[in-house]
């Protein structure tokens, strides 16, 4: 485990997390996350060889329901909170430019 998370790593994690942090945020989070990770290091004191990981505190099984159609949200309900829409669609900036051959 690495105790310190430097500013470059913070920028990389922010990119993965889709957070457009400014420089002051990067500096602040680098200090804070390092301090939290240092605390988390204490888990390394424990010998967990042979211990099963526990992702869930209940015995989790697949839950199936009958495969039959049910009512769903209407188009209007689904679009009700859209920040931008056109007709029956969510609107986002263009992903491919006009010259793309894809």
């Amino acid at each position: 485990m690495s105790k310190k998370i430097d500013q470059q790593q913070v920028k990389q994690v922010a990119k993965l997390a889709r957070l457009d942090l400014d420089d002051s945020e990067v500096a602040k989070f680098s200090t804070e996350l390092s301090s939290i990770l240092e605390y988390i290091e204490k888990l390394g004191e424990l010998d967990t060889d042979g211990v099963e990981p526990l992702a869930h505190c209940l015995p989790v099984n697949n839950v199936f329901r009958e495969d039959k159609p049910r009512p769903s949200l209407s188009n209007e309900q689904a679009l009700k909170n859209a920040p931008e829409r056109v007709d029956k669609f969510f609107m986002v900036p263009k992903i491919l430019d006009d010259n793309s051959n894809s």
Partner: protein, 492 residues
Amino acid sequence: MANEILNLTCKQLRDQIADGTVKSTKAVEAVFAQIEKAEPKIKAFLRTHKEEAMQKAADIDEKIANGDKVGSLAGVPIAVKDNICTSFSKTTCASKILEDFEAPYDAHVIEQLNAADAIIIGKCNLDEFAMGSSTENSGLQQTVNPWDADRVPGGSSGGSAAAVAGRMAFGSLGSDTGGSIRQPASFCGVVGLKPTYGRVSRYGLVAYGSSLDQIGPFTRNVEDAALMMNVIAGHDGRDSTSVTEKDAPVPDYTADIDKPIEGLKIGIVPRFNEGASDEVGKAVKASLDTYKSLGAEIVEIDMPYFDYAVATYYVIATAEASSNLARFDGVHYGHRTADPHDYVEVYSKSRDEAFGDEVKRRIMLGTYALSSGYYDAYYLKASKVRNLIRQDYTKAFEKVDCIMMPVSPTTAFKFGEKTDDPMQMYLADIYTIAANLAGVPGISVPCGFDSQNLPVGLQIFTPAFSEERLLRIARMYEKENDHNIVMPPLAK
């Protein structure tokens, strides 16, 4: 009359509405008069719905007058944490990213409250996306502790706790991921119950840490918590982690609530009491003496892995949060940045502009813990330690019927006292977090006051799906004390 109504418990009010002694409309009027008086000081609510509440109360009164059958909370004003979806109002999670979000459906627990004919009067403030221990992380407003305006109400369900303590609702719902019901209940001097994971459907609860989150009630006494549990507990096919009746039947939690547990064996870990402030430790020891006087036996136990719960939690909860909060992308709902250059900016600028610092911090920590190269060292390691923490409880419950300890090391702290040091804030949850990792139920019961007249909470745990026993044990103590009937200064 209004004050007489406000001093009633949920059960007393429900019974008096049912027999016609009190009209539900009068109860709603009394609550809104109290909101007018106390809410400007406390700021527990993000929104209230007086008109709709009055209309529903009038309908309930009419049904009762006509002799029609009504539900078990008929006419009782209830508040709801604003991370629980309601079709009739916004659901903001106290975040700027969802400031204008209107859910297209009701959460399961809202359907259950409606089926029980409860009156939902408003939505309560919280730490943004339920991330925090003081409600200072709310992106929308600051709730204060009804016992002292300079102090936090606890978190993340600070608004729900303060609403009940401030006599502005007879009960409320919160959510508990690492102590977010029990700790604010303790800070505000009310009862707060985190049910067993899987006992109450999470359908319609905006997810933070999906394997830890659980909805539960705040009330002024234990009997009311049982009454609320009767309404919200049970299987829901829309939540794949909701436990079926076959696997864990739901009893009537109120039926035997007043029957003490014979030969009760209470497990304590002495160093936990010693780790709390003198005054918290003293109040908890005094409550153990009360149990001893009722014939209970105190048994010293050890929970060696408990000390690793905070570290484990902040890996697992943040990993789950980083995944759950990926849905806030500025496309389908929520805040979107103005004039983005490309689709990546829609995501990254929208999220940066609208999430608060604590949410960003947890998303970053979770993303880091799950990232390639660190997964084994953090997430996998924490998942293994989680198993060891669960074993702590399993082994303890082989020797004792319940475990008791403080809820929090201190009483309510002052605004700003821990905000500069996230790690200090996280350690405030040291006694509550392990129960979420293990999935067991826990309750906070008022057990006295410190020298500054701030409430102290006693925390009790029992094995999974034994809420009936948990409530009976809590009730044994409550019947010997009257801490829960004192009105906080800001409610007056």
